[in-house]
């Protein structure tokens, strides 16, 4: 007999299931709108030119393969902090922060979650927006934290339930942890406006909550890295010492290279040093030290003026294409004769869009039109192209008229 007879089969990943079904489909018109990765207007993965240039530089330098420090590549972590906070940010300039390299967004979130479990004794509760990225819950749970929620998405309007959010947040017990999506909320694409962020900051401060920002789409949301980081920077300026997780998967297309960073804003540089030492103690028994390749590519891009400029243009290009697909989808729906209000498609921002489609409608899209998305009606706008947006609009109209 086996040690593992009692081990249950893990539930199939819902998003993976979408891709599996898509692959099996023989319909030439099929569309995969479950994919959480950017596609160009031909539906192909896009390797950024600045990435290729950075890779060429790396190849020519013939560097060694020695272990990175536990906290990662210093040029990368410093540049990451500067990218998120802005070069003029007081916390950045004074050095009252620590940034460690993490395994893309997930790894960075997990380091923070483990750090909170070990050192934040005031509370075990992490408040997530309703809904949030599916992996947030198991990450915090596996780290030993408890999950709570605050209202966020209003399915009636397909937009932000701001009064509901404020109501819930103002009742969160003091010293709880609240997770906020810095920009391009996943999965809804619904972000607060700047005035709303200001109110959120005030409430969060009043309730004395510990703020944890997840920023996986800086630059990728609006096309402007400063605009997308506005909320993070505003909170810090208001004296809120946030935790921050960054990912370079989408904005640099470095998905499989796992480039990310975890930052803690501290009271002073001395506290930052103590926090850093504890982060290293958490990281070492997880994977010892992080992988170099992705971080080095990102570091070269961020620290080489010409490449950085090129990157900003390319990331804007990706964001613009997404925005243009949103616009085209709405105008095509109008052309189809749809009488529904599809404004939320262009109001929402980032890779994902909560269409408002119901499960039965999603099922019809899959079965009758070979258009694949998750049951909650979320589509990845990255999977839409000028070649298939018309077909998508047609199909959506058919199932909603």
């Amino acid at each position: 007999s086996s040690w593992w007879s009692h081990v249950e089969m893990g539930p199939p990943d819902p998003i993976l299931g979408v891709t599996e079904a898509f692959k099996r489909d023989t319909n030439s018109k099929k569309m995969n709108l479950g994919v959480g990765a950017y596609r160009d207007d031909n539906g192909k993965p896009y390797v950024l030119n600045c990435v290729r240039k950075a890779e060429a530089m790396i190849a020519s330098k013939k560097m060694d393969k020695e272990y990175l420090p536990i906290g990662g590549l210093a040029d990368f972590t410093r540049a990451s902090a500067e990218l998120a906070l802005g070069e003029n940010n007081e916390a950045f300039k004074s050095g009252r922060y620590v940034t460690v390299q993490g395994i893309s967004g997930t790894g960075s979130l997990r380091i923070g979650a483990n750090f909170l479990q070990r050192f934040f004794k005031a509370s075990r509760d992490v408040y997530l927006p309703k809904p949030s990225w599916g992996n947030h819950t198991p990450i915090f749970r596996d780290a030993g934290m408890q999950l709570q929620a605050y209202r966020y998405y209003d399915p009636k309007t397909c937009s932000l339930d701001f009064s509901g959010a404020m109501d819930d947040i103002s009742k969160i017990p003091e010293k709880s942890i609240i997770l906020l999506h810095a920009c391009a909320h996943n999965p809804t694409g619904v972000d607060p406006r700047q005035e709303q962020w200001k109110e959120l900051a005030a409430t969060v401060k009043k309730r004395n909550l510990l703020v944890y920002f997840d920023m996986a789409y800086q630059g990728f949301a609006s096309g402007d890295i400063n605009r997308d980081a506005w909320a993070v920077r505003y909170f810090i300026e208001q004296g809120i010492n946030v935790l921050l997780s960054q990912s370079y998967a989408k904005n640099m297309g470095l998905y499989g290279e796992r480039a990310g960073a975890f930052t803690v804003i501290c009271s002073d540089a001395e506290e930052a040093k103590r926090v850093e030492s504890q982060l290293k103690i958490l990281i070492r028994p997880m994977y010892s030290n992080p992988p170099l390749n992705g971080a080095r590519i990102a570091s070269i891009i961020l620290n080489t003026p010409d490449l950085r400029k090129e990157w900003l243009v390319e990331v804007k290009g990706m964001a613009d294409r997404i925005i243009s697909m949103r616009t085209q989808l709405v105008s095509n729906l109008k052309k189809e004769g749809s009488s529904h209000n599809w404004q939320h498609i262009t109001d929402q921002i980032g890779m994902f869009c909560f269409t408002g489609l119901k499960p039965e409608q999603v099922e019809r899209l899959i079965k009758e039109f070979s258009i694949y998305m998750t049951k909650d009606g979320r589509i990845s706008v990255a999977g839409v192209t000028s070649g298939n947006v018309g077909y998508l609009a047609h199909a959506i109209h058919q199932v909603t008229k």
């Binding site: 040690w3 990943d13 060429a56 272990y67 198991p138």
Partner: protein, 376 residues
């Protein structure tokens, strides 16, 4: 951190790695898309094949699984997290975990952070005879509660460099089978220890042939010199395909909340190399170069000490294997080495053989001689 050095004292990027990296850089069809959660399929299959052997019955019977991991550490951690959740009951944090005395210092932290509450040591190093304390080890296994987990170094024990002989492994396996103890192998030096992949995997393969279900955490940091790309693999050997499938599905969930999916670059290099007969041969050659240099340094150091007439016996230097050697120097002698001779050893007397070169052999031998004769 320990890494291989050339005779010039420099890091060494394996020629085959440079070649494959260039191939990857020139291949415009490659992109940076996410790998599957469990990793690059060609990497996983080839990595496990390296550990278990081409003719492994477990592979033939389709009862193996692999999880691409962030280095050997990552593989250990995924294995540890899985065991804590699913081994010996559900979430049984009380299952004893036995780690050799001494061992790599991070072993302890991996299992503590995975949630295990009862971490113990098993006798391993006999300081008096400078060798394996086999009787102590076997006694500990006899006395260990049934179902205890034992962390075994597949070869090139870190830090002692002292491995059980095949005969001793057989004795160890017999006790473990009888007492229902779980073998979790740490294989960080396959090929790097003796120069032969098969020889260095003998213990793991023996346990598989004895019908054990086991884990083997593999690192490609040293044998591929890919330290900073974090290339590792957790090989799972089970009773049958169905069990292994369920195990992997749960490991997938653990991976998803730890790093989501593993880094692509290092795995591509290893997979490309292992899948090509020509590149594979080149790699084995590169590995042998490293292993041979270390073996040469061992024999040269020993012969110098014996010529100098340094008190004590020095055969352990060549009997030990791998990157490290427990010299037998005591803390005071180590202090002398560091302060007076500027030769850096661990307080345990552990020396990194990779630090030895033809240029410094004489100096190191003379310094050891001084330390041993001047300091008691």
């Amino acid at each position: 951190l320990a890494a291989y050095r050339t005779d010039e004292g420099q890091p060494w990027v394996l020629p085959v790695v440079k070649k494959v990296e260039q191939m990857i850089a020139n291949n415009n069809t490659l992109n940076h898309e996410y790998l599957p959660i469990l990793g690059l399929p060609e990497f996983r299959a080839n990595a496990s094949r390296i550990a278990l052997g081409d003719d492994s019955p477990a592979i033939k019977e389709n009862r193996i699984g692999s999880v691409q991991s962030l280095g050997g550490t990552g593989a250990l951690r995924i294995g540890a997290e899985f065991l804590r959740r699913w081994y010996n009951g559900n979430n049984n944090t009380a299952t004893p975990v036995y780690i050799s005395a001494p061992s790599w210092e991070n072993h302890n932290s991996v299992f503590v952070d995975a949630g295990f509450k009862d971490i113990r040591t098993y006798h391993y190093w006999d300081a008096a005879k400078r060798g394996l304390d086999l009787q102590g080890l076997l006694d500990d296994m006899e006395k260990a509660p049934e179902f205890s987990i034992f962390i075994l170094h597949a070869c090139a024990h870190n830090p002692t460099g002292t491995d059980p002989t095949p005969d001793q492994w057989k004795q160890i396996a017999a006790v473990m089978k009888r007492r229902f103890l779980f073998p979790f192998f740490d294989s960080a030096y396959q090929g790097f220890a003796s120069g032969s992949l098969d020889k260095d995997a003998w213990a793991v393969r023996y346990f598989v042939s004895e019908g054990f279900e086991l884990f083997c955490a593999q690192s490609f940091s040293k044998n591929f010199g890919l330290y900073n790309e974090r290339v590792g693999n957790l090989t799972v050997v089970g009773k049958d395909a169905d069990n292994v499938q369920r195990v992997l599905s749960q490991m997938e969930k653990i991976v998803r909340t730890t790093w989501s999916n593993p880094p692509s670059q290092g795995a591509r290099i290893v997979a490309t190399t292992l899948a090509s007969p020509q590149l594979f041969a080149e790699w084995k050659d590169n590995v042998k170069t490293m292993a041979d240099r270390v073996l040469l340094m061992r024999s040269e150091l020993r012969s110098r000490l014996e010529s100098l007439g340094t008190p004590g016996t020095w055969n352990h230097i060549t009997e030990q294997i791998g990157m490290f050697s427990f010299t037998g120097l005591n803390p005071k002698q180590v202090e002398y080495m560091i302060k007076e001779k500027h030769i850096y050893l661990m307080a345990s007397g552990r020396i990194n053989m990779c630090g030895l070169t033809t240029k410094n052999l004489d100096y190191v031998a003379k310094s050891i001689h001084e330390a041993v004769t001047k300091i008691q």
